[in-house]
Amino acid sequence: MTHSFKEGFKAALPVVFGYFPIGMAFGVLAVQSGMTTLEVFMMSLLVYAGSAQFIAASLLATQASIGTIIFTTFLVNSRHLLMTASLAPYMKKISSKLLSLLGFWVTDETFAVSIAAVAKEPKDKGFFLGLYITSHVAWISSTVLGSMMGNFIPNPEKFGLDFALPAMFIALLILQVRHKKALAIIIISAALSIGIKLNMAGSWNIILATVISATIGVLMDKWMEKSSQSLSA
């Protein structure tokens, strides 16, 4: 247990380094949209969702209703349904109680590291605890630090903080690409996401583009299987 916890801790280091610029960026922006350092701390402790927190802070700045903020958060986070679903087969040995806790800690970043790790070899609960607790502590510290600095930074764009989140998505995407088929899915999903966003209000583009392009991926596999069978026959 302690050995695998350490292994999880080590696996978390890239997430920690990735979180710091993003977390600090969120802290700075949150203070500018009217949140206090204590509110930033509580949000990072209880919500722990980078992109949703960014969106909530920007909605707060435009004085959106609580209902709008909660529903948008749900839509943006609904992608985690698909992520935790794809992790589930690798966590069969872990008790239900612990699973409901581990689920809380699955973010875009910790998911990317988890799925890459289990693709190599099976991991036990110590590994996941080490990875997830380290990452959460890093997220809380970086956002709180950012909120304290926020009072002294009048325009965060000057430091490129607004680009921290897209840059993180780029890094995570590159880590996921393991074969050529992935490139086709990237193009399809990106085009769908933009097409849907331009024609539909809200954040439905994320979940719709994901479901459709993953389905196209499966159909591509079936089609390629068939054509290779007919060639050999």
């Binding site: 610029p21 209880l46 749900f74 794809s86």
Partner: protein, 95 residues
Amino acid sequence: MMVVTYIPRMLPLAILSRMNISKSFMNWLSYVPVAVLSALLAPELLLKDGQLSINLSNTYLLAAIPCFAAGFFSKSIFLTVVAGMAAIVLLNNVL
């Protein structure tokens, strides 16, 4: 916000980890990470104020180029994020 963040993360783990998942569903799930990240990223880079913006004045799109390059060669989250932020600072000061 906490509840709507937590439920999508917890439910599939609690339910699906107790079931046997078919091979084709597993195959479908294997496409999800790449698909969801692309769906999140594309509007950030290609849309500006709700409009398609594919031109040299879109600094996010330009900064994405060195950012992708840094990620491709370093495979490091940290270096990729730092390269992207450095690129956007440079672009904002030059353009």
